[in-house]
């Protein structure tokens, strides 16, 4: 083997399922570090006095401390260190955009490759699930106060976990038949095994959180009625689930799905498992419109469902693509083709209303727009049509008005998101907090958790001392 030239050792690569194998299965793609690799990677950390990584972390996980614990083989202690700040490390270790957060700030990244903080976080969480003693964090004495949490995504799960530990009686309401929010219906099994989300939820239930699924707040029960039923405080974490369409001709054809519908059928309703009754159009030539994580997830799912060709249609260039690097990289390795600077104009179907093709236009980049990104401008005469029997629209999502329209006391901004104090999550309605995507618009798991943590702190304060 060649001697390392630089003093900075290279980062230990994450073992992965080979691309040609994994594109046909729903098993997790990265396999995780073993103990030895984890310890070796952990020793790369130089334990900065003023660690930049922590500043890059939205919930300020004590990163150098947990890495030191790994380096010294004190795994159980390491995971407990993370838990102080992050209740869902197995999730965050897998789906956080580390390259733009902790790892993006790591000092080693300036000269070589940053410490694999995400992989190490995942390692500890997985180690605890497999080998840990399963001991639960200690709960404070019961306060007799009742809290309702609406929505069981990362924001709601965080609030429920924090407040149950503080001794409150917590009930978690979820519209779907399974808890977890986007973690179960959106992010596919091959990126985030559902068993992990289930085990996190089980822990909450063991701690005493009362889980009520199949309940749409705003229809089955209103926010006001929750107070009448004896709840002292309410947290709203209902996410940003309203799918956007492009309003182009042919979008109602059979075979055109919103990413939400496609991923919900695949993940939550397990269309890929023959034991489940869920029907789904299995495309041969698939077009996915959009360039974010959602688009990557839809494209990779379509491949696994048996598509022959899957194309991502994105109207800007590679640099503007909002997906995590790892995701677009994985997608490409698996055979997803990227059609950049391309915009769909219309979908066409046959006489039975089934999608047969999509017509697109090529784009070029013009002047920067309000978002600071160069605006795509259509190229005249560049229209072209390609075969396509399944199209998935992943161009963003907005706030779902179901709950908010039933409670006019909760003030909204002009996009329909809840206005909440960024410091503590308080809304305009006394006793009601909000956080996560319903406040910020579609964002990330860790930001939703961060918002949940701030709200929980403020709610605890309120329950002890008042609004």
């Amino acid at each position: 083997m060649q001697e390392k030239k630089s003093k900075i050792q290279d980062r230990h690569p994450m073992p992965e399922q080979p691309a040609n194998v994994r594109r046909h299965n729903f098993l997790e793609v990265p396999l995780g570090y073993g103990e030895e690799t984890a310890m070796a990677e952990a020793t790369r950390c130089i334990q900065c006095k003023n660690p930049q990584c922590v500043q890059g972390c939205p919930v300020a996980v004590p990163i150098p401390q947990f890495i030191k614990a790994i380096a010294e083989g004190r795994f159980s202690e390491g995971i407990r260190t993370i838990w102080e700040k992050n209740a869902l490390p197995a999730v965050c270790g897998r789906v956080c955009p580390q390259e733009s957060q902790c790892e993006g700030q790591c000092i080693l990244g300036k000269k070589g490759s940053p410490v694999a903080i995400g992989n190490l976080e995942r390692f500890l969480a997985d180690w605890e699930r497999k080998k840990g003693d399963g001991s639960l964090p200690e709960k404070m004495a019961a306060t007799g106060k009742r809290v309702a949490v609406v929505g069981s995504g990362p924001a709601g799960l965080t609030v429920a976990g924090d407040l149950v530990l503080k001794g409150h009686d917590v009930t978690l309401f979820e519209a779907f038949h399974k808890p977890g929010g986007v973690l179960v219906y959106g992010i596919p099994e091959f990126r985030l095994p559902k068993a992990i989300v289930e085990s996190e939820v089980k822990t909450l239930e063991k701690l005493g959180v009362n889980l009520v699924c199949n309940t749409v707040v705003g229809r089955a029960v209103d926010v006001k009625e929750l107070f009448e039923e004896g709840f002292d405080a309410v947290f709203v974490g209902v996410g940003a689930g309203l799918p956007s369409f492009m309003n182009i001709p042919g979008e109602n054809l059979i075979g055109v799905y919103s990413a939400n519908e496609y991923l919900t059928r695949a993940n939550l309703m397990k269309a890929y498992d023959p034991a489940y009754d869920t029907p789904m159009v299995v495309g041969r030539n698939v077009a996915v419109v959009g360039g974010g994580n959602v688009a990557m997830d839809a494209a990779r799912t379509a491949l696994r469902m048996g598509a022959e060709s899957v194309k991502i249609i994105y109207r800007r260039s590679r640099e503007e693509m909002p997906a995590r690097l790892e995701e677009s990289h994985h997608a490409e390795e698996e055979g997803v083709e990227f059609m950049l600077l391309t915009n769909p104009l219309r979908f066409d179907g046959d006489e039975r209303g089934r999608l047969t093709s999509v017509t697109c236009k090529r784009m070029e980049l013009g002047e920067p727009d309000a978002s600071g990104r160069r605006r795509p401008v259509p190229l005249d005469g560049s229209d072209f049509t390609m075969d396509c029997d399944l199209a998935i629209i992943a161009v963003g999502s907005g706030a779902n008005p179901l709950l908010t329209s039933s409670e006019p006391e909760i003030a909204l901004n002009r996009w329909g998101n809840i206005e909440a104090d960024p410091e503590n999550g308080k809304t305009s309605m006394r006793g009601v907090w909000a956080g996560g995507d319903i406040v910020t618009g579609a964002a990330t798991v860790i930001l939703a958790m961060g918002a949940g943590r701030k709200a929980a702190t403020s709610m605890h304060d309120f329950l002890a001392r008042g609004w």
Binding site: A175, F176, H177, C213, N214, T215, V216, R219, A220, V221, G241, L242, P243, F245, N247, E251, N252, L253, I254, Y257, S258, N260, E261, T264, R265, M269, K270, D273, A275, Y276, D277, T278, P279, M280, V281, R352, G353, N400, P401, L402
Partner: protein, 286 residues
């Protein structure tokens, strides 16, 4: 589990009534709203309207036609068994007002959906003409209850085995000839709702229809239930299921409803084979 406290076959092995224990839903439901039910962990989420609710007993009643694999599975559930999941109430409730003369038209299992709306319209003080249509006498469900609500009751069937021979539109034509009603509510198969809406359009008679597109979440999250109404795309689960019949794109709705025909036929075949194999097995054992 949501337990079935009462089961009845309104039409033998074809139209089934289930009264289900679901107190929270029973308390909150108003006419026009629906539930989504799922029989087992591996089952589909299927939307069904509540034909009745009993807030005191804490039950909701669904009446469904066996059309595919999921509804066949539901039909096999007996009293004491139940649904793994039941979500509701979903959708907007019907605006119930005293407007004068209301014509309520129900076709097939649409009669079940119409029942709570007709009752509420009557309770609000409207004069009610009820027109029910079915394939044959066997499929004419809730006839006694509906005729008891009506000031004028007309039933028609395709084969003349009950009421007059003909379609609901024939009966509607006769009714319209007597005077212009303030409101028509039509619930049934898509072609029926379309034909009724065309008939009331020239006179501009306000016509409500209840749509049944394919749904998954029922909360506005997937967009699967989208229908074109006027020049807008609406989500039937949150904006509906009731819409102005004169604005609905019925042809688009029909097309979208056929989305899984092939997949479902295959599923139904497999389901039948399994049931037959099971039956054969138990025959051998007994």
């Amino acid at each position: 589990m949501f337990k079935i406290v009462k089961r009845e076959e309104l039409v033998p092995s074809s139209v089934i009534l289930h009264e289900i224990h679901a107190p929270r839903v029973a308390q909150k439901t108003r006419p026009g709203q629906f539930v989504i039910v799922k029989a087992t962990e591996t089952g589909e989420r299927i939307p069904l309207t509540m034909a009745d609710t009993d807030p005191v007993a804490g039950t909701v009643t669904i009446i469904f036609m066996v059309v595919g694999k999921s509804t066949a599975l539901f039909a096999s559930l007996q009293e004491g068994e139940g649904y793994a999941d039941l979500i509701g109430p979903l959708g907007r409730a019907t605006d119930i007002e005293k407007v004068g003369h209301v014509v309520c038209i129900g076709g097939g299992t649409g009669i079940a959906v119409l029942h709570p709306i007709a009752r509420a319209m009557k309770e609000a003080g409207n004069r009610l003409t009820v027109i029910l249509g079915a394939r044959s006498a066997d499929f004419m469900i809730l006839k006694d209850r509906m005729s008891a609500l009506a000031d004028t009751f007309i039933s028609v069937s395709d084969d003349g085995s009950t009421g007059k021979k003909g379609f609901v539109t024939d009966a509607l034509q006769e009714t319209l000839a007597l005077g212009k009603p303030e409101l028509v509510v039509a619930i049934g198969p898509v072609p029926m709702m379309k034909a009724v809406s065309e008939m009331t359009r020239p006179d501009g008679i306000h016509t409500l229809v209840s749509l049944n597109p394919i749904m998954i979440d029922g909360t506005g999250m997937c967009g699967g239930c989208r229908v074109s109404v006027g020049d807008k795309v609406k989500f039937a689960c949150v904006d509906g299921p009731e819409f102005d019949g004169h604005a609905v794109d019925f042809d688009g709705l029909s097309q979208r409803l056929s989305a899984y025909k092939e997949e479902e036929q295959a599923a139904m075949e497999i389901h039948r084979c399994r049931m037959e194999a099971q039956a054969a097995n138990s025959d051998q054992q007994s």
